[in-house]
């Protein structure tokens, strides 16, 4: 325990920070693209909007909670990289699964249909992406005395990533390349960052 006091500060900009930032970008870009994907089938009435927000936030909350427990059990960057990779694969699959799913759910009605669609399409990747946040914190906190700083910095980074993702998706990707490619680009970004560490045994 006391080792923390002597050990030099952890590298401030490394794999963990990069993943946290990029996963922020991917999460927000995927959320916006998902809203766009679902609108033609169910419109944008308040019930649809409420479903979108509720499922996204609930999935993230579950991801945070679950990710924290997993992180304490596997506090190594390789496990985190694999989580990120799994998340990016799921994001890339969203538009693919959407085609048959939206056809099936369109006739269920706006409330039930949009709920089901969000639950199947968007919730699973968001749980996985949410899990990366406490994981990053676990990897970066090396003493209780410095925990506040590490946590605050990672939250800030993730939020800044969200801001970039929001803007990139709404102002550039969705109008320029369309919804499907927005998912694929957002997923590829995260996969590109996670891939090198997913099978590496070196520390971050």
């Amino acid at each position: 325990m006391s080792a923390a006091a002597v050990a030099p500060a952890a590298p401030r900009w490394g794999f963990v920070e990069l993943v946290k930032f990029v996963s922020g970008v991917t999460t927000l870009a995927a959320e916006l693209a998902a809203a766009r994907l679902i609108a033609p089938a169910f419109g944008a009435s308040t019930v649809v909007w409420a479903n979108t927000i509720a499922i996204a936030l609930a999935a993230l909350a579950i991801g945070y909670w679950l990710g924290g427990r997993l992180a304490d059990r596997h506090p190594n960057p390789r496990a985190m990289a694999r989580g990120g990779l799994a998340g990016s694969v799921m994001v890339a699959l969203i538009p693919l699964v959407a085609i048959p799913l939206l056809n099936l759910t369109e006739d269920v009605g706006e409330f039930g249909g949009s709920f089901l669609a969000q639950l199947v399409l968007v919730a699973p990747p968001l749980v996985v992406l949410g899990a990366l946040t406490p994981w990053a914190i676990r990897l970066r906190v090396d003493s209780v005395a410095g925990a506040g700083d590490a946590t605050g910095r990672l939250y800030a980074l993730s939020t800044a990533g969200g801001l970039v993702g929001n803007f990139a998706a709404a102002l550039a990707l969705i109008p320029l390349v369309g919804t499907t490619w927005t998912f694929i680009i957002a997923a590829a970004l995260l996969a590109g960052v996670c891939l090198p560490k997913a099978w590496s045994s070196k520390p971050a």
Binding site: A44, A58, W65, L163
Partner: protein, 510 residues
């Protein structure tokens, strides 16, 4: 040692720290939504406004997280955290009271197209929201630091607190968007959002001085809210209300005309005149244009998507009382406003549907002789009502010889949206024509039956519609060319309109 210290410190609180984290999560995201609704009556909800709001809110939170982490390591004491929350809450409560001078500045800025005043007004308001959010943002990392006993549990402790804060956010969003803004207005919504974390912080501290903050905030709930937006000279505000979707306001001008404004009021969504159902606006075109298919009779069955307060159904009730109309609007409040202020009368031929236009059309088979599309969420047409897939659905719901007529705005004289929509309609229908009925609006009509000006000119209409029909026939022309076909996957409606707004503002300020 540190572990024992922080344990002991938390025991000094009367409520678990989790309660504070939850309350602050609720308040921050709630405040973000409330801020958008506070701005909407003055600035609207275009991408430009939305992007600035999101950017300021997220940057403030981001800075708050960073600051919170630093403060946490320096003072890992719950009491300091509670004081920070009390200050943040107090500042949040002040927002609606000092925002009004900034917001009112925007009304003149719109009229004079003054980008400087517009930006000052927008950022003035946003900074007011940003400062309290920055202070509330410190809570997450700070609470994590206080809760943490050993490095080995850093993942589960931070994950649990963050999850709790997110659940709070979920409830905050629902509270504000689904209930508070409509039920108690934006001023009291901000007060409640401030009161909740302040109360938890004060109870945690259990200190008489701290309790002053929630007591004052609670007292402020009794301050009357007053009008949301001041009336302009010569106008009388008959009615104003936050609906589930927007801020709606009914204006009566000096000449007695009534206008329906939504949000910032740059567009007029419905028009009522005392002794006539004719408006002199684009709405009149829906009375004569359907005859372009040469049928020589008015449509027997119509779906009007996006009717607002019912200007078109009202006119149909007078000129074509036999026509059965499915009037569709997403906002239930607008039908009520129509009945109260815009002469919309209940009759068996009129069916009102509170629904989004595309799901409505999917669930109703028709077949319709005419489908009118006039659904706007200013300054945009919802993208899913502009695509090839949408017009395929429309075509499927039309009776043989039926047609679709779309009202397309030309924001700031830019024809880009009409070009794209004409191309999209031409990709689905055999025939497309346009009537540039007003300088800012075109009606674009599509059908698989040939469309001609002579059909309109020779229409057997009432004598007071003859002149309108002749004018419409004279204006009828082939559609604009040069646009690309929109699809559900790619329909950059917002992009085209934002580009025209930006270039217009740049021109005016040269």
């Amino acid at each position: 040692m540190t572990a024992l210290e922080s344990r002991g410190a938390e025991r000094g609180l009367r409520l678990p720290l989790e309660a504070l984290v939850f309350a602050v999560g609720l308040s921050t995201l709630g405040a973000e939504i409330a801020a958008t609704r506070l701005l909407a009556p003055f600035f609207g909800t275009s991408t430009v406004i939305w992007a600035n709001t999101i950017a300021v809110v997220l940057l403030a939170l981001s800075a708050g997280y960073k600051l919170g982490g630093t403060l946490a390591d320096r003072r890992p004491e719950p009491r300091a955290l509670c004081v920070c929350v009390l200050v943040g809450s107090g500042l949040l409560a002040v927002v609606p009271f000092i925002a009004h001078p900034f917001l009112s500045l925007s009304v003149d800025a719109f009229d004079e197209v003054s980008v400087g005043a517009f930006a000052a007004s927008l950022f003035g308001t946003l900074v007011l929201v940003a400062v309290p959010l920055l202070l509330l943002g410190t809570v997450s990392p700070w609470a994590t630091r206080i809760k943490l006993d050993t490095v080995e549990e850093a993942g589960s402790v931070s994950g649990r607190l963050y999850a709790l804060s997110t659940v709070g956010s979920l409830i905050g969003v629902f509270f504000v968007a689904l209930w508070a803004i409509e039920a108690i207005g934006s001023q009291r919504t901000f007060l409640v959002l401030a009161l909740f974390p302040a109360l938890i912080a004060a109870l945690s501290l259990f200190d008489v001085r701290a309790l002053v903050v929630p007591v004052v905030l609670g007292g402020a709930l009794f301050i009357p809210a007053g009008a949301t937006k001041p009336a302009e000279e010569g106008d009388r505000v008959l009615y104003e209300r936050e609906t589930p979707y927007q801020y709606a306001r009914v204006i009566e001008q000096e000449d007695g005309d009534r206008l329906l404004e939504l949000n910032e009021g740059q567009a007029i969504h419905s028009l009522w005149r005392q002794d006539t159902v004719l408006t002199g606006g684009y709405w009149d075109g829906f009375l004569t244009m359907p005859f372009a298919n040469g049928s020589g009779r008015p449509p027997a069955r119509v779906a009007a998507l996006g009717t607002a307060a019912g200007t078109v159904p009202r006119a149909y009730a007078q000129y074509y009382p036999e026509t059965v109309i499915d009037a569709v609007d997403i906002d239930p409040e607008l039908f009520k406003i129509g009945h109260r202020y815009f002469g919309l009368e209940e009759r068996p031929q009129l069916r009102e549907h509170t629904q989004d236009a595309r799901p409505f059309l999917r669930q109703h088979d028709g077949p319709y002789d005419a489908i009118f599309v006039d659904a706007y969420r200013q300054p945009y047409i919802p993208f899913y009502l502009t695509t090839k897939e949408f017009f395929e659905l429309v075509r499927d719901r039309l009776a043989p010889g039926g047609s679709v007529i779309v009202n397309i705005g030309h924001p700031n004289d830019s024809p880009a949206l009409e070009e794209a929509m004409s191309a999209t309609m031409a990709a689905v229908f055999k025939h497309v024509v346009r009537d540039p009925i007003r300088s800012q609006n075109s009606l674009v009509m599509a059908s698989d039956t040939p469309l001609s000006a002579s059909g309109i000119a020779n229409a057997p209409v009432a004598s007071d519609l003859k002149e309108l029909a002749q004018d419409s026939a004279a204006r009828l022309e082939p559609p604009l060319r040069g646009g690309s076909v929109f699809t559900d996957d790619r329909a950059p409606v917002e992009w085209l309109i934002d580009a025209s707004i930006v270039s217009y503002a740049a021109e005016e300020n040269k």
